[in-house]
Symmetry: C2
Subunit: 345 residues, 2 copies
């Protein structure tokens, strides 16, 4: 029997979708955005679950995202496909272009999707996981807001710049990683500040570029990348490939454009899709079976694969439902009843 | 006036090329291999400079690399181009395919080069730097020998798996990074062992998977990736994309194939080339000028860009010549006079 606050995936999806259509988001976009939000909740990625609803409604209320945007695909039959989100959310744009991206990767071996001018709030694993389900290896990356200093520097210039990768597996779930190239999320520093607790060393520098464990000084200084100069190099690559190369915002311009970090950022994103069957063809080997040799060997020595916890949470949620707190349910009710007016309460 | 042991880039190139042709390597391959070795020396990357000569001669003497291999290009006009190194060195294969890779990236926006069955000993920056000189953004990666445990594991399974990226700049040098996804190079642990010094924490685990600072225990255990689970995920991605996906060796199979680490490894490599002009076209922005905004801002806050030291060494070497020690010059003489017989001395 379900716990009192258990809700099924399907029921939560319907409720979140309704919230978006109620505030004027077009049905296809509402479906796409609801899908990634509820997937986050289902996978127990709470920071990308229904927690994001308020942020989405706030950019809608601020007029900084277009609820009626119709993604526009530009495709000349080459290996680079573009989808212009027209100032709408990123997810409807990705799903609108998914089919042509997959077809092109299968035909040419490799294809790239440029997402232009989108409001970006979701994790990147949605994109690479969808492509892995279609049998493709995939990379996804995007800038964010300039919070992070380059290695050896002291001023925020790079975003927390997520980088994600997916690889198809024969079983239920693909191999997927998706991480920020910063050591920590900005929200974690904020939580330490509120709790009056020091942050771990290595997370940030103060305004003078000195290492700090004081969350206040960190928020006034700059966050650091994971992995020292190597992580900093990868974060710089993300700015160049998913910002400069596309002619879309890099993290500094995204921050200047929104005039602060109160609202979700607007920028572009880059997705690469590769068909292992095309790449392996001349070898006579099965690339997926080869990949399994590595992935099962990692598991066999007791190491955890990225996303394993997320997939376990998903399996549980699909079988037993998604557990929501009273406060979360009350917020859903409020958003359903009041729409954008709920933000005024 | 030149110091006694100064040698010009051109003179060193000619000598190294002669050493390779003398031992039976075909002229085009000798030129390509000499070029990357002397470039390493010129850029003061000593571990990839003429130090590598002995390793190359040893694989030749062992019959584990084919000196007469003629790279074979397989190109069906799609976005994936293959070059079969036919058991020869990787560099001649890359240079043989460079032109078609560049042309294809310019035409399709993105293209991939699969290098098959090559003896791989050079840094990856050569490839991405060459493509950046042609105005392309580039990624390069390959497996190596299984020395590194995945995060949370204890047995060597991943290689030191280098990952490189290049981005064109208007000035003399592009933006280039190239690093091992392991924390340290295996050679550094070996140097600590010989010196009887402990290695830093975080470099390795012993055979039981416990953190160790004992170089002996580290060599009998496993090295670790940079950046914890994030670096481990990237290293796994390199195995999958540049090993399994190509139907070429992953690091474990490369090690099994060579029967140990005394000889340089044989495996494949993956190079991706992207044309920023194609990607940015619809934005109306100049992607290279946009990239400069970030790269000059990094420099302006006193942070160093990757490869800066290497480019400074290069400028100095091209102006003043390359400084070699007596022992290095003596070794060049010996290799020139004796060819593979020099290894017996």
């Amino acid at each position: 029997m379900a716990e009192p606050n258990m809700i099924s995936y399907e029921a939560l999806l319907a409720r979140v979708e309704t919230i978006f259509t109620t505030v004027g988001v077009l049905p296809a976009a509402a479906k796409a955005v609801a899908k990634v939000i509820v997937a986050g909740e289902r996978d127990h990625c709470k920071s990308h679950g229904i927690y994001r609803l308020e942020g989405c409604l706030r950019v809608l209320a601020a007029g900084k995202v277009n609820p009626e945007a119709l993604p526009e695909i530009h495709d000349a039959g080459a290996s680079v496909i573009e989808v212009d989100a027209k100032g709408g959310f990123s997810n409807p744009a990705f799903y609108a272009a998914r089919e042509v991206l997959v077809a092109r990767a299968r035909k040419h071996g490799i294809a790239a999707l440029v997402i232009r001018d989108c409001l970006h709030f979701s994790a990147l694993w949605h994109d690479v996981e969808a492509l892995a389900e279609d049998g493709l290896a995939a990379l996804s990356m995007c800038p964010s807001y300039a919070f992070v200093a380059p290695a050896g520097g002291k001023e925020p210039l790079l975003g927390t710049n997520p980088f994600a990768f997916g690889w198809p597996r024969p079983g239920a779930f693909p191999y997927v990683f998706d991480f920020a190239t910063s050591v920590a999320a900005r929200g974690e520093i904020e939580l330490h500040r509120r709790a009056g607790k020091p942050i771990p060393e290595g997370w940030a520098v103060d305004a003078d570029g000195h290492p700090t464990t004081d969350p206040e000084a960190a928020l006034g200084g700059a966050m650091l990348t994971f992995g020292g100069h190597k992580g900093s190099a990868i974060s710089t690559m993300v700015e160049l490939l998913a910002g400069a190369m596309l002619g879309e915002f890099m993290s500094k311009e995204a921050l200047d454009f929104m005039g602060g970090t109160d609202l979700l950022p607007r920028h572009g994103a880059l997705v690469l899709a590769l068909d292992p069957r095309v790449f392996a063809a001349r070898s006579g080997r099965d690339p997926i079976a080869e990949g399994e040799k590595l992935l099962t060997a990692i598991g066999a020595q007791g190491a955890r694969l990225p996303s394993e916890r997320r997939f376990a949470a998903r399996a549980k949620a699909m079988a037993e439902g998604i557990a929501l707190s009273e406060a979360e349910l009350a917020q859903l009710d409020r958003f359903e009843r009041l729409g954008l007016d709920a933000l005024k309460a």
